[in-house]
Amino acid sequence: MLEILLDATVRAGTPILFATLGAIINERAGIINLGIEGLMLIGALSGFAATFVSGNLLLGVAAAFAAAFAAGSIHALVCVQLRGNQIVSGLALTMFGVGCTALFGRSMVGQTIDGFERHAIPLLSQLPVIGKAFFNQDWLIYFSFLLVFKIWFFFYRTRWGLELRTIGENPAAADACGIPVNLYRFLAIACGSGFVGIGGAYLSLASTPMWIENMSAGRGWIAVALVIFAGWSSVRALFGAYLFGGITAMQLRFQAMGTTISAHILQMLPYIFTIVVLVVSTLRLQKGASQQPGNLGQPYDREDRK
């Protein structure tokens, strides 16, 4: 029972994990990205379509990354080069993603592919309780573990990561050090968006190997809230995403057990829980534990005086 629930938790949490990691990369560079929901859909559709045409899952993941990278570049162009309002641009990206995927996904509705299969890791998958849930999964989930570590390593153990964090905190100081602020920001937005796209692809290539219009169903927004819960740290994002995976898994479990509570009420739980978590994390932030990048949401113009 616990093993099944834990397994469902990891599988439900993984798309949110990828999306949260992508959003963290954006926000570390000082850019709010509210386009996460749209990027997930773009990733889900292009991943599914590429796999459907080529029969190759890896190609699907690559296509999801590339398409979301390209869509994220629009947000980057507007926010970085054109110094536009990041909130409006992000909302535009979400609308664009919802609309475009509905339009181009028409021919993919009802098609099926062979999704990612489980590959047990020897020894580790024999561990009691957690073995099955964490080490008898598909390659994308193993990749997400790696990505959590890679992003932590990038931000805290490499020069580029330090420079990117500097840009998020104080772009003028970074500029004075000779760091190309706009280039870094552009790349951070585009690459972060690409990882969000992989999160979307997890939905259409692993969770339910098919394309359904609007299949992200608000997970992108949950990811945006999780960034604050995670305190902009990739390791805490892992816990946050699995927390939500757990809620979703329990909700599905309740429904499967045939409870008398309406399915509509149960489906509200993840959203209500997200709001509660957001409030608690915001309160904690205000008590001085803030990891929020100092310049979040502000466009950088060298000629502005602060």
Binding site: V98, M268, I275, Q286
Partner: protein
């Protein structure tokens, strides 16, 4: 590179230049959307002609455009009043649903009759929308919780709550199990005009626009809202209670969006059902941004968006385009609008020329 440009700040261009830039960005968005249509196997020229013909080519089309514009005007106003204060109400969609639920509750279960019924429904929708938004408002005003995320997540909850009601306790017992409530009695319906679906909600929307214009431009509250929006620090220093103002304005914004839900069920649907709003609350964000926060602008832009929605509905029938396609349009319009802001606020100056330029 044969040309080099320098980006320079400039004074905002004239009102005419800004209007031109806004118009140009809408047309550019339509042009780019044409390529999307082309890629989806639809002839864009034919599609655009059809939009114009359907929405403006007949008196029925015109009336449908006004019908679509009705909820857009009301929600556009709701979002723009919060915008004035730099508060983002992305939750108008959910507030429409809650307003519709409030109005439906009165219509089905209050037993009121003609002179009282519609005002009571109005009041219930106003309160329901306001209460829904007040959650985000309280969190934002008291603890600075991000209102964008809260209002947005509340949309999903509101839609699920409406689904719960129409699939469950409020389902019409004689409705063959469809997710619908019973039809409203005549006392709970708006009058309709000219043998079309045009209903009193449209005039209610215009009244809201006038009321909000007067509130923003002619009262001390409107002045405070604008002052807090442009410089919260200075407003607080001047003795304005910014927290309270944020709470009241976001709650009012939700209450107004709730009226749109009332207008939809009383004027158009005459019952509550699944999916009563196909995303008016999201379109409202674009309307508020396009209208540059003016009440009159909201009315004009809503009418234009009404054209797009009526035309879009017909494209959906004749070309089997998905409803959500309208979002792609709207997203593009927003992107180009942001780009046009750049050209309003900055100028590109050519630095040096080489011989081949």
């Amino acid at each position: 590179m044969s040309l080099q440009f320098r980006v320079e700040k400039r004074e905002q261009g004239s009102a005419l230049f800004r209007a031109l830039a806004t118009t140009a960005s809408v047309f550019t968005a339509l042009f780019v959307a044409g390529f999307l249509l082309l890629a989806a196997g639809v002839d864009p020229a034919a599609a655009y002609l059809e939009i114009l013909r359907e929405a403006l080519g007949s008196s029925y089309g015109l009336s449908e455009t006004l019908v679509k514009a009705t909820p857009l005007i009301i929600t556009g106003l709701a979002v723009s009043i919060a915008f004035r204060m730099q508060i983002w109400n992305i939750g108008a969609e959910g507030q429409i649903y809650m307003g519709a639920c409030g109005a439906t509750w009165v219509a089905l279960f209050s037993g009121l009759d003609t002179p009282l019924m519609l005002p009571a429904m109005f009041g219930a929708a106003f309160i329901a929308g306001g209460l829904w938004a007040s959650v985000a408002a309280l969190l934002r005003a008291r603890w600075q919780v991000n209102e964008v995320i809260v209002t947005l997540l509340m949309n999903y909850i509101a839609i699920l709550l409406t689904d719960y009601l129409v699939y469950g306790p409020w389902k019409n017992p004689d409705g063959f199990n469809f997710p619908l409530t019973a039809q409203f009695a005549d006392a709970a319906r708006f009058s309709e005009y000219f043998n079309t679906r045009l209903h009193s909600g449209f005039f209610l929307a215009l009244f809201c626009a006038l009321a909000l214009y007067l509130l923003m431009e002619r009262t001390i509250w409107g002045y405070q809202i604008k002052a807090i929006g442009s410089n919260p620090g200075a407003a607080r220093y001047a003795g304005m209670r910014t927290g309270l103002a944020i709470f009241l304005v976001l709650t009012l914004s939700g209450a107004i969006a709730g009226i749109a839900g009332f207008s939809e069920v009383a004027g158009l649907q005459h019952r509550l059902q699944h999916g009563i709003s196909p995303g008016y609350g999201y379109t409202a964000i674009i309307i508020a941004w396009l209208a540059r926060r003016s009440a009159l602008g909201v009315v004009i832009v809503s009418l234009l968006m009404g054209v797009l929605l009526v035309g879009g509905d017909s494209l959906q029938l004749s070309w089997q385009l998905p409803v959500a396609f309208a979002y792609a349009f709207q997203g593009l319009i927003l992107f180009f609008l942001l780009a046009s802001d750049f050209f309003i606020n900055f100028r590109l100056r050519r630095l040096k020329e080489t011989a081949d330029a």
